[in-house]
Amino acid sequence: MEGRSFGSPWTRLLLATWRALSRAACAMDAESLLLSLELASGSGQGLSPDRRASLLTSLMLVKRDYRFDRVLFWGRILGLVADYYIAQGVSEDQLAPRKTLYSLNCMEWSLLPPATEEMEMQTSVVKGRFMGDPSHEYEHTELQKVNEGEKVFEEEVVVQIKEEKRLVSVIDQIDKAVAVIPRGALFKTPFGPINVNRTFEGLSLSEAKKLSSYFHFREPVELKNKTLLEKAELDPSLDFMDSLEHDIPKGDCGCGLLEQRGTPQMLLRGLARGAARGYLLGVCVLTRSCIQCIGNTLFCHTPSPVTPRPSVFWNE
């Protein structure tokens, strides 16, 4: 991702369905979509009424056809010509790899292949905005060494990269960098699978202000590196993911909490600089009140990836 930036406002609204009021799963998806959109609207991103209506309809059919446990509306990626609307299907195990679908008109959904590291390597050279056409091919010229007998030539090779590939790897990187859940919203059962905690009532205000009460919603990376002493404090059924506390960079460039509108809800705007090596901004909305918990609503926005240069010293 070095030297590259995505199309700008990425909207990501990851809908979750954990609500203490247990209802039919389909009803929850629909309801929490509207609710999450409302809560995330403070960032200026939303869906127009026609998009909203068509999403509610088509996602229901997606759920039926692909037999997902639940379907999450992931967000939107703005392109120059058209926008991608992204949805993800979740199986029983919440942390298991998800299936990603995209749509250009919110009605017809197509499945995307799973992301691989090779894909990430290939697409990391692409710069600029998305076009909005999955078959669009970016051209990238590379210098390759060609052996011709004894001589070694450097030859310029034009590599074609499909936008679909880039879409897949970018979604994966955003997921890894800024997908966030509050502590306690998911719990690990002794047998392994991770379930939604139905008794979760949201974080209290004092807890919500701490970065340690949020986890990266991905397979833990840092957890293994912790010392035994640090692990002793953790609750294995709840603390099974990386906390945001030790994210780099810290302070004003790290994750910032934002209190919004004085209503009892907490917005988490993370400026996580993860695998993408650029700043990705995410918003996680949490409420505690009658709604209990919305889950996580994420909204990503990459105005400008920032790569700090090695500092230049004044010494001669």
Binding site: E2, P9, G42, G44, S48, D50, D252, L258
Partner: protein
């Protein structure tokens, strides 16, 4: 056991003890007596408060006499019970007999009571077996009860019965139970254990007459506290914890000040926003009503929010309404002629809501003067510092050389109502919080803001730490970004604005075109489809900012007269070198189609808000250069909004500019350059040369002397 024994009869003790032993013998031979006891027990625990209030229990005992009628037993059993009753009663007062087991039996039975009642009602056939099994006393448990019995009932028969009574705990219990001992061996293990646990718990649950707190509750509190607090050495702390827990129980928190401080900020915010909704002053409210709907500078935020929602951007409707109320408040507070909601700039901890206003004529000057005084004061301070510096220099022996670098000429800032300072901007973090006025922007701030990239923190007085250094704090940076965004993204449909006819003839000195326009009264509106199809139907209505940081160009080298006098000589030296080219930007109301492409990327994207029904949708234009800038147009209506982080899009990663090359400290010359040591040959050559020179000099001297002599001679 807080209850006073109902019939404390010290005189009758000998008889009762004798009676119990007699009865026990009889019971051993006749186990069928069991139902009697259970039937009695079952009535007592029906009172839910039995575990706590023992006094009520006593009153219940009066019911005991009516037990056979209140049950649903078969006639056969009733017969047995009656017979039993009649059998037991002769010779002993019934109350005494029951009391003996009641004092503890009711507690034991409390757990089983409901179960037993069910059993009694269900199967008559198995009745006895079930009851028997449920009511076994494990021998191990009895010791505990003996102790406790002795404490609470010193008058009971146990104390009087000699050594065999203490050894044989069964005698501590009511005669009825003694009959069951024979069944002990036949029963399975778990049930008695469970019962034992229940008995122990029941014992712990009892309260004393002095307090309502039972040992059980106290232990629960204590353990909860230990588990919650997780102190390092719980055993060591146990004593003190024990005491504090008890203390806390009897001293509930009465301090209302400590009550739920968590939601404090939320309440505060709600209180602030309530002020927005309540009309200011009761009397004025009535007057306003009479005036009907007067012309107001407050824009119709809700209508615009509706159109932006169609476009898929904008804030939620309730937030929009709060902003509307906040703008109304602003208009009431300030002498505002026009007002517009500019947008929202997101920050790390707080966001800024930005209002773009124009003051009424003449209102602005007074405030500006104040501001200028402030800045002048600042400059005076700086000047003073410099003087001090000069004094220091004199004192220092080794004079520090003055830098030869001269700061670039300061470009004067634009007057208010002109160019970048055309509008005034007020910001607030949230509706209900006070509006704060942003200072005017200076060209140097715009120039530097282009070179840096910072997130806003949400606090206007936060410093902007960056390289190259930004002159000012976050308020200045915010103002500079607002000026840049406005200049780049404020667009309107072609023909909505036109140049004023009078001014049209005047040519601006700078040649940047006319800088004012007026609304076109004949504007009919452009069809939505045409607006989407061609960017030529949209024009910029805010002036382009030149690289200099101003909208109209000023020659930075054109100095005022004073400066000319002071630095005339220097200027002569410089003049030839620096001849600044005039910067020219696109004129006002230039179509968007003229905008430059950056990295093969179209700077604007136009869409229909709804592709399904194009006839009713609005045209939406999105800036690709400033993510977050949107505009819509429908008929004669249009609006611009910016909601974003205040960062310009750049295809490349941002790199801070490198520091300028380092200046030379001093001119390098032979004094400062180290010489290489001379070789021996060179030294010898030098020596020879010196000797030669010396010899020559001597000769000359001699000649001179001779000459002098000659002169003297003359």
């Amino acid at each position: 056991m807080g209850d006073p024994p109902p019939d404390p009869e010290p005189p009758s003790q000998p008889t009762s003890s004798r009676r119990s032993s007699q009865v026990s013998e009889r019971r051993r031979t006749r186990p069928s007596v069991a139902p009697l006891v259970h039937e009695e027990l079952q009535q007592i625990p029906l009172d839910p408060q039995i575990l706590r209030g023992s006094r009520e229990a006593l009153s219940n005992q009066s019911n005991l006499h009516g037990w056979p009628q209140s049950t649903s037993l078969t006639p056969n059993e009733n017969l047995v019970f009656q017979a039993e009753d009649s059998y037991v009663n002769p010779g002993f007062p019934a109350a005494v007999q029951r009391q003996a087991y009641l004092s503890e039996g009711r507690l034991q039975a409390s757990q089983n009571a409901s179960l037993m009642l069910q059993q009694l009602q269900q199967g008559e056939g198995n009745l006895f077996q079930e009851l028997e099994s449920a009511y076994q006393e494990p021998p191990a448990d009895l010791g505990q009860f003996t102790m406790y019995q002795r404490e609470d009932l010193p008058f009971s028969q146990g104390t009087e019965h000699g050594p065999y009574m203490t050894d044989d705990p069964t005698l501590q219990f009511s005669p009825s139970e003694l009959g069951f001992m024979s069944f002990n061996m036949e029963l399975p293990e778990p049930e008695p254990r469970e019962l034992a646990v229940q008995n122990a718990k029941a014992y712990l649950l009892q309260t004393s007459i002095n307090s309502d707190l039972s040992l059980y509750e106290h232990l629960v509190n204590l353990l909860t506290k230990i588990l919650n607090q997780r102190p390092e050495d719980p055993l060591f702390l146990l004593e003190s914890l024990n005491r504090t827990t008890q203390w806390e129980w009897f001293h509930p928190k009465l301090d209302t000040l400590r009550d739920d401080p968590e939601m404090q900020p939320t309440y505060e915010m709600a209180e602030r926003q309530r002020a927005l909704f309540s009309r200011s002053g009761g009397g004025e409210g009535e007057q306003e009503m009479e005036e009907e709907v007067a012309e107001t500078a407050v824009p119709n935020i809700m209508e615009k929010a509706f159109y932006f929602e169609q476009a898929g951007v904008g804030l939620s409707s309730d937030e929009s309404f709060r902003i509307f109320m906040a703008l109304k408040q602003l208009v009431e507070q300030q002498p505002i002629h026009t007002c517009r909601f500019w947008g929202k700039i997101l920050g790390l901890s707080r966001s800024y809501l930005v209002a773009e206003v124009e003051f009424r004529e003449g209102e602005e000057e007074a405030e500006e003067e104040e501001l200028e005084e402030m800045t002048e004061g600042g400059e005076a301070m700086e000047a003073h510092d410099e003087e001090e510096g000069d004094e220091d220099e004199d004192k220092v022996m080794d004079v520090i050389p003055k830098p030869t670098w001269k700061p670039p000429p300061v470009i004067p800032k634009e007057e208010s109502r002109i160019g970048t300072n055309r509008y005034l901007y007020f910001v607030c973090n949230e509706p209900g919080r006070p509006w704060m006025r942003l200072p005017h922007v200076t060209p140097i701030q715009i120039v530097q803001a282009r070179k840096i990239r910072k997130f806003f923190t949400g606090y206007l007085d936060a410093p902007v730490i960056s390289y190259p250094p930004f002159p000012g704090n976050e308020a200045n940076y915010l103002r500079a970004q607002i000026a840049r965004i406005s200049a780049a993204t404020h667009i309107s449909p072609l023909g909505f604005y036109q140049f004023g006819e009078e001014e049209g003839d005047e040519e601006e000195e700078g040649g940047a075109g006319r800088d004012s326009y007026e609304e076109n009264p004949d504007f009919e509106g452009i069809p939505v489809l045409e607006l989407v199809d061609s960017m030529a139907n949209w024009v910029h209505h805010t002036q382009h900012i030149l690289p200099q940081g101003r909208c109209t160009w000023v020659n930075p080298l054109q100095k005022t007269e004073e400066e000319e006098e002071l630095g005339e000589e220097e200027e002569k030296a410089d003049e030839g070198i620096e001849e600044v080219e005039q910067e020219v930007g696109p004129p006002l109301l230039t179509p968007l189609s003229e905008d430059a492409e950056i990295m093969h990327m179209a700077p604007w994207t136009a869409r229909l808000s709804c592709t399904v029904s194009p006839q009713y949708s609005v045209a939406v234009v999105r800036s690709n250069l400033w993510p977050g800038a949107y505009a819509y147009a429908s008929g004669k209506k249009f609006e611009n909004i910016y909601i974003g982080w205040g960062h310009k899009y750049s295809p490349e990663n941002f790199n801070p500019s490198l520091p300028a090359p380092i200046q030379h400290e001093y001119p390098s010359g032979p004094d400062t350059i180290e010489m290489s040591d001379p070789t021996v040959e060179e030294e010898q050559a030098l020596k020879a040369a010196q000797e030669q020179a010396l010899a020559a000099a001597e000769e000359e001297e001699e000649d001179e002397e001779e000459d002098e002599d000659e002169d003297q001679d003359d």
